[in-house]
Amino acid sequence: MKSDFELILEECLAQMRVGKALEECLSAHPAQAKRLRPLLGAAVRVWEIPIPRARAEAVQAGRERLLAEAKFRAASPSPVSSGRFSRYTKQVLCSLQIALLGRKRSSLNLALRMAAIFVIVLLATGSLTVNASASSLPGDSLYGVKRSWENVRLSMTPSQQGRQRLQEQYDEERRDEVKELIHLRRAETVEFQAPLKEMDAEHWQVDGFWVQIDSETEVEGEPETGLALYIRARLDEDGTLTALQVRIPARNQLTPFPTGVPTPGLTPQMDENPETEGSETRQSPEFKPAEENEENEETVQPTQPPGHDATQTPQPHKTRTPEPTDRPEVEHTPAATENHELTHTPESTEQHLKTPEPTKEH
């Protein structure tokens, strides 16, 4: 019935639009006249009101503005409008959202999407952690991450030459860490590899460090200048390095450091098993026998032996003291060091790391 009334209303409006009077329409539909009258009256009232029109000058101004805008756009077409750029950004974000969360009706189940998110978060977090650990030192919370990442990189480096270069880089990093710890006056247990430069009963000089050998020190192998040593040592706040463990590769396995070269090109294998292929794989083409490089020893900048007091008489307390017969001719003796007025502060150690001691008597 309602639709019938709407049809009658439309019919009356159409007739009135072409000139028929309102009353004529109502008399044609007497049953609906009461309902029709106010609605037709409203329509007539609207028709009676003159249509508002813009002023002629405003119409002309609007037309000219439109044409000017069209000319401007034709003259300077924007390669990517701000609106389009916004849409591109939205599309990229939308693609990311679909990749991570899937479409509303995606066939990917929730578990797969969650797994994808988890992997991405894990990779991002791992990457950030590795980056943050790059400058960590022994004793820092992220130092383990740093060393683990180094091992991962070593194991993932396919070429032997690449692994060798990487290992040399890491060896140097270990020595730099020790220098940094000395500078910071931090007490830590450190480990590093370095060539043996000089030695006496109580102190060995390795690549710029004086390492104290005491009764607690475990020494494996026979020391010889120029050989690369693996040293695990306790670093005290005053910069004293006390060796806890020194490992020297067997003569037939060793790959000596070129003495006098600040950055050793050869390092021995640091594994517990000295039979590993490390000594061979880390052969450096720059290797020279120690004897050939003795003249370069003057370029080394050794530290003064920490705790090497002139007033003290060296008391060797080695669990496994190197055999005197195997000991090479070393010019640095404890007696010789007595001529030094030494201070054993980290600052002095740092200073001596950089400056050769000219007063050392040989």
Partner: protein
């Protein structure tokens, strides 16, 4: 008396030509639809100058959006009404003049009409504007298109995307609401 309807131009062809930079097509679109857009805007803001400015802005925005326009079977006027509606909303948001009513002298005047007649017409427009602003968007568009633009039901079908029966029903509801509001605003007494 009902006014003559405006014959719609060939929208698809006009849009295509305008996209290709044909300024004649742009002028044709403007000439064809400017009056309808102005009427729509005028009854929303009830201010002659603001309506003129906003109407010009509607066509500028149309030009900017022309490359991305897809008709979806609707005439240009439906698109222009959407642009106009958004502009009016922006205008009210910016100026916070939602309740603004212009002074009589702001309303359009004709040099040839008697001053009393001009004043009465302006009052009547103002009253209708108040009533129209309280309708829903669809009801307002039906009243504007059918009783001010004098368009056929078939045009409203394409403009509003509804079938004839739905348009008739919408027209019925719009007239009921308009009569109630005009009575309240005393538009019949002017």
């Amino acid at each position: 008396m009902p006014k003559e309807g405006v014959t719609p131009p060939q929208d698809g062809d006009l849009i295509q030509r305008a996209r290709q930079g044909d300024q004649t097509a742009l002028v044709e679109i403007y000439n064809s639809y400017q009056p309808s857009v102005f009427t729509y805007v005028f009854y929303r803001v009830c201010d002659q100058e603001i309506a003129e400015d906003l109407t010009a802005e509607v066509f500028t925005r149309m030009l900017a959006n022309l490359p991305r326009y897809t008709s979806r079977g609707k005439p240009i006027l439906a698109w222009l009404y959407t642009i106009a509606r958004n502009l009016v909303i922006d205008h009210y948001r910016q100026s916070k003049r939602a309740s603004h009513l212009p002074l009589e002298e702001d309303l359009v005047e004709s040099e040839h009409d008697h001053p009393v007649k001009v004043a009465e017409d302006n009052l009547a427009r103002e009253c209708l504007s108040r009533a129209l602003r309280r309708l829903t968007e669809e009801q307002r568009q039906v009243i504007l298109l059918k009783f001010i633009e004098c368009r056929e039901i078939s045009e409203l079908v394409t403009m509003l995307g509804k079938n004839e029966r739905a348009i008739r029903s919408l027209q019925h509801r719009a007239l009921v609401a308009l009569h109630r509001l005009m009575k309240k605003e005393r538009c019949y007494e002017i």
